[in-house]
């Protein structure tokens, strides 16, 4: 299979420049693919999919028959990011997460940023993610958002933009690690020569971070991953992370609060848990404080968190910054808290609560992307240029009814990357979700991250819940990479 007929059209392509030449950092890979015997690439792709089934890397499809198991489609052509370019992104992400953590801490304490007039007060009082129960709390090392999966996109000039910060329970990192395992198996030689930055130590970095933020005075903390259970679509990831980190994988009913500590029920009786990496939303954590009908969490968990006998990652209340309205202010936060200019641009954002912005949005619905402020997973958004008049009219009504709940942004011309379609390559839109582990004094950024692909031709929606697939992402250090070629 070769790239002779491959068209980049007018998009920024991750592997080829607009003349159709492979980018320097992608040369090795492109040559390797083109030198494969006919059908070989497809064979490797199929082998990868089989491997995913046998490893049980499947998710249950909601609402379908029992036993319907699917794998997230995996495209075998990796997406390549130049190492020097990545260094800038990495620095930008660290800067951003640092500022966001300072912001959350400020909101739950003195709210200096509001007192100083940088951010209007209503943006947190009306935010769904704000939890009054967390007011005045001090999570260890001042960290609220321990794990972040920030979504990045590239526009038609190849500039990286931050699309949104997923600060609550971002998922997908297991696919980064598994895709890498599959690629090492499929392209060992190219992989070796390409000097790809490694991702394999992510679980180790994760565990170190969790130890670092454990309650004071605990030498060897007991760490657990809290999952809603086997029927959750991300269950595989929860189990995978627990296994790779050497943490306990617990469900709500495994936990009990003994009056001081949150403990796990074990064959030897109750054992204290010190740190919980939770993969359930705030509202399910503790039926005594939040939703009474929740069986996913444990009564007393918030007490333990408040009294400091338990660290929760991410901390409850972090969602206050995971809001598309708050997003618009992150550049201001960076300046305010760190006194620096943002290294990574945000997408220009119109807050529909502002009358002028609302009118502008309504007038330009056919050009803009409109998103609800606090939804995730790509649900409930309008992609103006792709929508019908009827859909736009319906959205206009929703906008007028609840303007605070919406933002609008220009439709970016997302970058593309080649994917295998039958016996040839076609360009598909991609985004990137890097994972950032924050420990207070410093952050670790997983080199690359999860590249999600909108597999439907022309589609801009990359979410796995809506037919997206994934690719391995190689951050390639070019200087050494080219010598061998």
């Amino acid at each position: 299979m070769n790239f002779e007929t491959y068209e980049t059209d007018d998009f920024f392509d991750e592997l080829f420049d607009n003349q159709g030449h492979s980018r320097d950092s992608a040369k090795l890979l492109v040559n390797a693919i083109e030198s494969l015997a006919d059908g070989d690439l497809l064979k490797r792709q199929e082998a990868s999919e089989r491997a995913m089934h046998s490893m049980g890397i499947t998710f249950n499809v909601y609402g379908s028959d029992e036993g319907t198991e699917r794998t997230i489609p995996f495209d075998i052509v990796p997406r390549i990011i130049d190492g020097a370019e990545w260094d800038v992104v990495e620095a930008g992400l660290k800067q951003r997460i640092k500022a966001v953590n300072r912001f959350i801490d400020d909101i739950y304490h003195d709210r200096n940023i509001i007192a100083d007039g940088v951010i209007p007060e209503w943006i947190f009082t009306s935010s769904k993610g704000y939890l009054p129960q967390c007011q005045g709390l001090n999570p260890p090392k001042g960290v609220w958002a321990h794990v972040t999966g920030t979504d990045l996109v590239r526009d038609d000039k190849g500039t990286f933009f931050v699309l949104e910060d997923n600060l609550r329970v971002p998922s997908g990192v297991s696919y980064v690690l598994l895709n890498r395992t599959l690629m090492k198996r499929n392209f060992p030689e190219v992989f070796h020569k390409s000097h790809v930055r490694r991702v394999v130590d992510y679980p180790d970095q994760f565990m170190k971070m969790l130890h670092h933020v454990a309650p004071e005075g605990i030498d060897r903390p007991t760490v657990a991953v809290l999952t809603p259970g086997v029927y959750n679509s991300a269950y595989f990831e929860h189990a995978f992370l627990a296994q790779q980190m050497g943490a306990l994988l617990v469900e709500g009913h495994d936990l009990v609060y003994d009056g001081k500590y949150v403990c796990a029920r074990t064959v030897e009786g109750l054992v204290r848990i010190d740190v919980i990496y939770r993969r359930i939303d705030d509202e399910f954590l503790d039926p005594e404080v939040f939703r009474e009908d929740s069986y996913l969490g444990c009564t007393g968990m918030m007490k333990a968190f408040r009294e400091g006998t338990l660290t929760l990652a991410n901390a409850p209340g972090t969602g206050v910054a995971d809001d598309k309205v708050v997003y618009a202010f992150v550049p201001d936060m960076i300046k305010y808290y760190l006194g620096e200019d943002p290294l990574l641009p945000s997408v220009p954002t119109h807050l529909c609560c502002d009358d002028e912005a609302l009118e502008y949005t309504l007038d330009n619905l056919d050009k803009l992307v409109v998103k609800p402020a606090s939804e995730s997973g790509g649900y409930g958004m309008l992609i103006g240029p792709k929508a019908s008049q009827k859909e736009r009219d319906a959205f206009a009504r929703a906008l007028r009814k609840d303007p605070r709940n919406y933002i609008s942004q220009p439709t970016l011309s997302l970058s593309r990357a080649p994917v295998v379609v039958d016996d040839h390559f076609e360009g598909r839109h991609v985004d990137l979700r890097p994972f950032i582990l924050h420990r207070g004094d410093d952050s670790y950024v997983l080199p690359g991250g999860l590249t999600r692909v909108a597999l439907k031709k022309g589609s801009l929606v990359v979410n796995s819940s809506q037919g997206g697939g994934t690719k391995d992402t190689w951050v390639v250090d070019r200087k050494t990479g080219l010598e061998v070629a």
């Binding site: 049980g56 994988l249 495994d254 009056g259 029920r265 064959v267 030897e268 109750l270 007393g300």
Partner: protein, 318 residues
């Protein structure tokens, strides 16, 4: 540190795999044995249903215990919780719910084994050939999984729950097999000692992989010597006493406290069996002996559950 929920899952996953592989053994040997009969009328499939203890269930659904009915019931029936198909898919879904505990290799095998029977129904092989082949594959794969468990899992509490489940299930199935041979396989008492009787004993031994051991250590087939091997042998891995000793050993590895209820019951049972001879058993009466055994197995199972899985000490706000 082992969560109670996970301990329970390991225990049952292990039991279900062992159960499936035992039923596969019985099916395979029955099939072989019945090939030596000259007509279909002479074939005996009913006793296999007796082993399961679910005769009423079978009759309600199938009626007569014909070869095909029994094969379908035990191998394929998706509604019958103890069919091979269901046992294996249950084990598979348990494994999916605790894959952080199972080693990757083991998970892959259990995952594949759980899909084996439903997948086989799509193959075009002749029904009997297929059942026969499946039995062999399941037996082999269960042993492979066992080997993986023993080669990839550290000897912690999890491993010992796995072992407790397997050997308790095996002891139970061996006792049922013995029971069935005594009460259902030979319809007339005057047939005892006939060539058919010998043939059946020999089949029983074969389904336990014990035929060669028997011949080597005990010579010609006599019922009390078979009982001696199946019940009282300490060295044969499918003999009841061997299995119970293994369970006890693992219980002590899980916790050393001798005063625990499951330990107590088992300790007493092992002591009792150790002091018996095959002649004692036959004289007490096989029926009563096996009934007692089964009651003890249930008691052990319940004690394990109350003690480790839902212990009373674990209460909120204590």
């Amino acid at each position: 540190m082992l969560l109670s929920r996970v301990a329970d899952n390991i225990y049952w996953m292990s039991r279900y795999i062992e159960r499936a592989s035992n039923i596969a053994r019985f099916l395979e040997v029955s099939y072989q044995l019945n090939l030596d009969h000259s007509s279909l009328d002479e074939e005996q499939w009913g006793p296999l249903i007796e082993i399961t203890g679910d005769r009423t269930l079978f009759e309600a659904r199938y009626g007569a215990p014909t070869r095909d009915n029994v094969m379908h019931f035990l191998m394929f029936n998706p509604e019958y919780p103890n069919s091979i198909s269901r046992c294996l898919s249950t084990a598979r879904s348990i494994a999916k719910g605790m894959r952080e505990t199972v080693s990757d290799d083991m998970f892959r095998e259990i995952n594949a084994l759980g899909k084996r029977v439903p997948e086989a129904t799509r193959e075009k092989a002749h029904f009997h050939t297929r059942v026969f082949q499946l039995c062999r594959e399941i037996k082999r794969d269960a042993m492979l999984i066992e080997a993986m468990a023993s080669e990839t899992i550290e000897r912690g509490q999890g491993y010992h729950f796995w072992r407790v489940g397997r050997y308790l299930e095996r002891a139970d199935k061996t006792s049922r097999l013995l029971h069935v041979k005594y009460f259902h396989l030979l319809p007339h008492l005057d047939a005892v000692g006939t060539p058919m009787d010998d043939l059946q004993w020999s089949a029983v031994l074969e389904s336990m992989d014990a035929k060669e051991t028997y011949i080597r250590t005990r010579g010609l087939i006599t019922p009390d010597k078979v009982v001696d091997l199946m019940v009282l042998d300490r060295g044969h891995p499918r003999a009841i006493l061997f299995c119970l000793n293994a369970v006890l050993e693992s219980l002590y590895r899980i916790t050393r406290d001798k005063s625990e209820k499951p330990h107590e019951i088992l300790e007493a049972l092992c002591k009792k069996l150790s002091a018996m001879s095959a002649k004692d058993i036959v004289e007490v009466g096989m029926n009563e002996f096996i009934d007692d055994l089964q009651l003890s197995f249930n008691e052990v199972n319940n004690a394990i559950h109350t003690h480790f899985i839902s212990p009373k000490a674990v209460t909120a706000g204590a």
